[in-house]
Amino acid sequence: MDNKKELIVSAIENGTVIDHIPADAVYRVASILELSLHDDEVIIGTNLMSKKLGKKGIIKIKNKYFKQNEIDKIAVAAPFATLIEIRDSQKVVKRSVEIPDVLHAIVKCINPNCITNVEDVPTKFTVIEKNPLKIHCHYCEKTQEPMLH
């Protein structure tokens, strides 16, 4: 079992593995990270058994490292995800994602009359509660649950 796990992680020489994604959020994470546009190998696994989550998803992206803003997006869709960065087949960094206190251009405002849905204005939200996630729009001042772009 451990060998298999090792195999999954080390199957790419360079890139990122996003582990511990709730099974029902795997395709959403792939979508918000625009992985369909990634030129290199992307492996998406879902409904894998997990002690922590019951069923989990995993995504491996070859030759891709994420910027903080992208990691924040992952945190909103999959708050318990783990990021493993691999360089030359070695796990270089393993870390949990964390929902930031302010979300910049990560989620859309649910209020159709909010200026961010009418003009080309990047959204900005203050996080009020992290679990379950509750956010407050900086512009229209509506408190809401997040809606991902």
């Binding site: 200026i115 003009e119 080309d120 900086h138 229209c140 001042e141 408190t143």
Partner: protein, 309 residues
């Protein structure tokens, strides 16, 4: 001395309790002496992206009484917006022509965005269903003037409590002054949970009613609101509730002597004309007070008056 020079006013929460009080004190000075040549070298841009009567005229009257020059528009159909200009570009252009921008816009959050784009201070004169902070300040001014204080009052709000932005902002502001709130509305138009939670979080009390007569004997302020037809997608639903609260002189029997009726106006039929002649009617003076409050705000934000602690 508090200095509001250059500070935007977008939301009622942008200013502290002390800042409101100091603005009200300054407004009192303007009420005593409204015509002062304080803004003779200033240009006020009054840009109204949707129709308004009271707010626009009140701001422009306030600016004129202080001898400011006023530029702007009240009908966006006659501007470059019709050509597809973005709010961003309009605000950048207007801020290069003026010292302060007074703005109304139909979209929620437009004023906050404008303040981020503008190089001059912005006063929000209403952004969609979100905020209308100067209405809230003139409400506070009217309450303090009629009651002699803002503290420990019984504030009753009647009508459309679900969609009415003025009542939401007023609750937020009055939570600073230990008010007890009484919310009178049909079930369909009850005060939103978020506003009720705000009252609870401030350690204050509220009670909900469906019958207007129940609150008459103990209210210090009865704040009436119009039930807005445009908020209902189903016309039958509107018909059901539109006439549910009509305040007339007979209903006011047994009220406290100090009680005053406020209304953000325009009224339709929720306050009968016979109330106008009673000593309890205060809605027209309330609208007039808006001029002094807006004078105070413009003078403080443009730095020609400092607030006194």
């Amino acid at each position: 001395m508090t200095n509001l020079k250059g500070k935007n006013l977008i939301s009622i929460t942008d200013y502290t309790k002390d800042e409101y009080i100091q603005i009200l004190d300054l407004a009192k000075e303007f009420e005593a002496n409204p015509k002062q040549p304080l803004l003779g070298d200033k240009v006020v841009a009054s840009i109204f992206f949707e129709p308004s009567t009271r707010t626009r005229l009140s701001f422009e009257s306030a600016a004129n009484m202080l001898e400011a020059r006023v530029i702007g528009f009240s009908n966006p159909a006659a501007t470059s917006l019709q050509k597809g200009e973005s709010l961003h570009d309009t605000i950048q252009m207007v801020s290069s022509y003026s010292d302060i921008i007074v703005m109304r816009h139909p979209r929620d959050g437009a004023a906050r965005y404008a303040a981020e784009v503008a190089s001059v201070p912005v006063i929000n004169a209403g952004d969609g269903a979100n905020q209308h902070p100067t209405q809230c300040m003139l409400d506070l001014y009217s309450i303090r003037k009629t009651q002699g204080t803002l503290d420990n009052l019984n504030i009753t709000m009647v009508g459309d409590l679900k969609y009415g932005r003025t009542v939401h902002s007023l609750v937020q502001a009055m939570c600073n002054f230990k008010a007890t709130f009484h919310f009178v509305s049909p079930k369909e138009l009850e005060m939103p949970e978020s506003v009720k939670r705000h009252v609870q979080d401030a350690g204050l009390k509220y009670k909900e009613y469906t019958n207007l007569e129940d609150v008459i004997p103990f209210s210090d302020i009865i704040y009436m609101t119009r039930i807005q037809k445009e908020r209902f997608s189903d016309p039958m639903e509107y018909e059901k509730v539109k006439d549910c609260y009509v305040l007339d002189a007979a209903t006011l029997k047994g009220c406290k002597d100090n009680m005053r009726v406020l209304h953000p106006l325009p009224r339709v039929n929720e306050i009968a004309m016979d109330v106008d002649k009673t000593p309890y009617a205060y809605y027209f003076q309330q609208a007039q007070n808006g001029v002094y409050v807006r004078q105070a705000l413009m003078a403080a934000i443009l730095g020609v008056k400092q607030l006194k602690n």
